[in-house]
């Protein structure tokens, strides 16, 4: 899946912040200044000042000549970084990966996040509206690469969400500044009359490199998506991963076991501190010959017990082929969930479904035999016998409906009912005799019929009339007739054996 990125541009980041301190400044022309080479220069101007022709890079004295009521304050170095960092942390509500984009923006990796807000457009609107509600003048765009989102947010126009298929068109009309180029490169471009990306995007790469340098091509590639760009998130997502480099390559099973034990100890220590437990883990062994060997495990309940996890790995450790030796082990918890220690204490030795020893047993069994062989059933509210129960989702699930005890059901049920030959009096007397697997059974006692209708909203078909019958040897069966007698299309089946 292609990534999606949002670039947020704070048009007046610094002056907005100063206006927040004193809301009066919002309506007046207001600038921030810094001394440059002995002159007081404007480094930020608010919207009102810009409307009156005051722009960044002007000397304060010149601006005062244009606008005598201009308010000026010295800028605070490092304020932008601090502000952006704080805003980036606030933006983690939208996506876990938020990067600061100095001097006046944020970059958000929003791959797979937008559907939570009901689509990309509402998502982007939510970001902009939330930030505007905090009195920041922002403009944001969403595109396939951080570079393109950056360019569109600053130099493009609505629509701000760039569809993956029309990314090139939007880029063509942008000025060269939208590619995040260095200032002198941009100046050179304008000097050469290249005012739009379309004018130079098709020029041969070697000549572009010669004129504008390597970094220009890199920026162009990043905007086009040919080159990867790595964001540095403010709160890095730290993987639950442990490494164990070995001085000498490990070739013995004992060595591997010791390595695994060490990795488990450190990983579980971290998990315990964070009150987490792992549900799935992979042990990778990087071999001397460049190949990677790996074994994986899964658990039924989040676990951070090194002993238990080691036992799970133990069964599959022999499949790890060291060959000439393994020089690096990496243990990674690929699935981690909340896990509370105090609950565990409560469960130990309980003997019920919550017992820790039970889930550890299930883990061991599923590790060896595969998770698909373990079944647990919950009642389902259907009279149709095959549908009267369903698979339980987890070991802890409790039934929401009572088990049906109204009618006695057979202890053993055939997965597929089998045809039997039956003699019975019409129209709905119980059968008198039936032949099953070549043996004739004379029926002495019978109960029924118990009619079970098809659930037409689930499946079409005929109803079943069930009889509980007992033959002359005392053996009990569950038979049914499919369909009505009078329609001449009925059939008899055996479906189960009663206790």
């Amino acid at each position: 899946m292609a990534g999606r990125y949002v670039s947020v541009w704070f048009r007046h980041l610094m002056t907005d912040w100063f206006s927040l301190q004193e809301p009066e400044r919002r309506k007046q022309p207001f600038v921030l200044t810094a001394p440059v080479h002995g002159r007081v220069m404007i480094v930020a101007a608010n919207a009102v000042a810009e409307a009156r022709g005051i722009h960044v890079g002007m000397a304060l004295a010149d601006a005062r000549a244009v606008e005598p009521t201009l308010q000026a304050l010295p800028e605070r170095p490092g304020l932008a970084r601090k502000l952006l960092h704080r805003l980036a942390e606030w933006c983690i509500r939208f996506t876990p990966v938020v990067a600061v984009d100095l001097p006046d923006g944020l970059l958000l990796d929003v791959s797979g996040c937008a559907h939570l807000w009901g689509g990309e457009t509402p998502y982007l609107q939510a970001i902009v509206r939330k930030l505007q509600a905090r009195q920041y003048d922002v403009q944001a765009a969403m595109a396939d690469t951080p570079g393109r989102a950056w360019g569109v947010a600053r130099f493009g126009r609505a629509p701000w969400v760039i569809e993956p298929q029309r990314h090139l068109d939007t880029l063509l009309t942008l000025p060269p500044e939208a590619l995040r180029l260095e200032a002198d490169a941009v100046a050179r471009m304008h000097k050469l009359g290249l005012h739009q990306v379309r004018q130079f995007i098709h020029l041969p790469r070697p000549s572009l490199r010669r004129r504008f340098g390597e970094s220009f091509l890199q920026r162009l590639g990043q905007a086009l998506g040919h080159e990867d760009e790595v964001l540095a998130p403010v709160q890095p997502v730290e993987a639950y991963q442990e490494r164990l480099p070995c001085l000498e390559p490990i070739v013995t099973a004992t060595g591997i076991a010791i390595g695994l034990e060490q990795l488990l100890q450190t990983l579980c220590k971290r998990l315990q501190q964070e009150q987490k437990g792992l549900r799935a883990a992979v042990l990778k062994g990087y071999r001397v010959d460049g190949k990677v060997e790996q074994v994986s495990i899964g658990t039924h309940r989040p676990s951070n017990s090194p002993q238990h996890l080691f036992k799970l790995f133990e069964t599959s450790l022999p499949t790890l082929e060291p060959a000439l030796g393994i020089e690096l082990f990496i243990l990674e918890a690929s699935k981690v969930e909340e896990h509370y220690d105090h609950q565990e204490k409560l469960w130990e030795g309980h003997g019920g479904l919550d017992d820790l020893r039970l889930s550890e047993l299930i883990d061991r069994l599923s590790g060896r035999l595969g998770p698909e062989v373990i079944h647990r059933y919950m009642p389902d509210e259907h009279y149709w016998p095959e549908r009267s129960f369903r698979r339980a989702v987890s070991l802890q699930e409790q039934p929401t409906a009572p088990w049906c005890i109204g009618h006695l059901r057979p202890v053993q049920l055939l997965a597929i009912p089998e045809r039997v030959e039956v003699s019975a009096l019409t129209p709905d007397h119980p059968p008198m005799l039936f032949r099953y697997k070549g043996q004739l059974h004379t029926i002495v006692r019978a109960d029924g019929p118990e009619r079970i209708e098809q659930e037409w909203w689930l499946q079409q078909g005929q109803h079943r009339d069930y009889y509980r019958v007992e033959d002359d040897a005392g053996r009990r069966y569950w038979l049914f007739r499919l369909g009505h007698y009078h329609e001449k299309i009925y059939q008899w089946f055996i479906h189960g054996f009663l206790a």
Binding site: R357, L369, V373, I374, R376, Q412, D472, A473, G474, A499
Partner: protein, 241 residues
């Protein structure tokens, strides 16, 4: 005088059992009356922490045996206990367990492909003290395999049930008991049509430190009830037939 003697004999029997390594069941099952075959068990308590073997030669017998086992399991599992049912060809219909006083959701089923895995899984499960009981359906079981199960059980005090679908060649095993359950004609209350309560002929073929015997019982009101009167009539019928 005779009462005194009986007392002495009972004490001596208990002593012998203790010397033989038989530990009286500390489980709740000891309090539950298992009906007519109570006196066949050593010390009058159902041996928990042991492996019991049930023979079944046909589907009908299998159904009767499953029902009987469920009846035994119900007091073992109590209100909270969990049991494991290991099988390579399971036909048990989970909702039916409710009829024997067990909530089916307290059963975990292992449906395996190979019979060899059944014995392995059973052994592994029998080592887990969190389970109340483990039921395994197997065809053949060697003496060694049964010995392994017995050893697993001695540590954990879990009760094992082995349901053997074997028509012939029932060799020696290390199981503590061997049962055979056969369905017999049910007897509805006088004048009522239809089927009565499930009724079985229970043969206890082997019982370590206990007695063997044959009983005719039915499952009524969630417990085993002996059937005396009509047994002879039924047997006569069978002999005549």
């Amino acid at each position: 005088m005779s009462a005194e003697k009986a007392d002495i004999i009972a004490t001596l029997q208990r002593e012998i059992l203790r010397l033989e390594g038989f530990r009286p069941g500390s489980h709740a099952a000891g309090d539950v009356s298992l009906g007519p075959f109570q006196e066949a068990f050593p010390n009058g308590t159902f041996p928990v922490g042991a492996v019991h073997e049930f023979l079944s030669a046909s589907m009908e017998q299998g159904a009767a045996t499953s029902g009987f086992m469920a009846g035994l399991l119900a007091p073992l599992m109590g209100d909270k206990g969990v049991a494991l049912w290991v099988s390579a060809a399971r036909r048990l219909f989970p909702p039916a367990l409710q009829g024997f006083g067990i909530s089916p959701h307290r059963f975990i089923f292992l449906d395996l492909k190979k019979e060899r895995d059944v014995l392995w899984a059973m052994e592994e499960a029998l080592k887990c003290g969190a389970l109340a009981a483990v039921v395994g359906e197997v065809g053949e079981m060697s003496f060694t395999a049964s010995r392994r199960l017995q050893l697993a059980v001695e540590q954990s005090r879990v009760t094992g049930f082995v349901l053997r679908h074997a028509k012939r060649n029932v060799g020696t095993t290390a199981c503590v008991s061997r049962w055979r359950i056969t369905p017999v004609a049910s007897e509805p209350d006088a004048g009522l049509p239809g089927l009565g309560f499930p009724q079985w002929q229970v043969e206890l073929l082997r019982m370590r430190n206990g007695k063997t015997g044959v009983w005719n019982i039915r499952w009524e009101d969630n417990k085993f009830t002996p059937v005396y009167k009509t047994e002879s009539v039924h047997e006569q019928q069978q002999q005549v037939g």
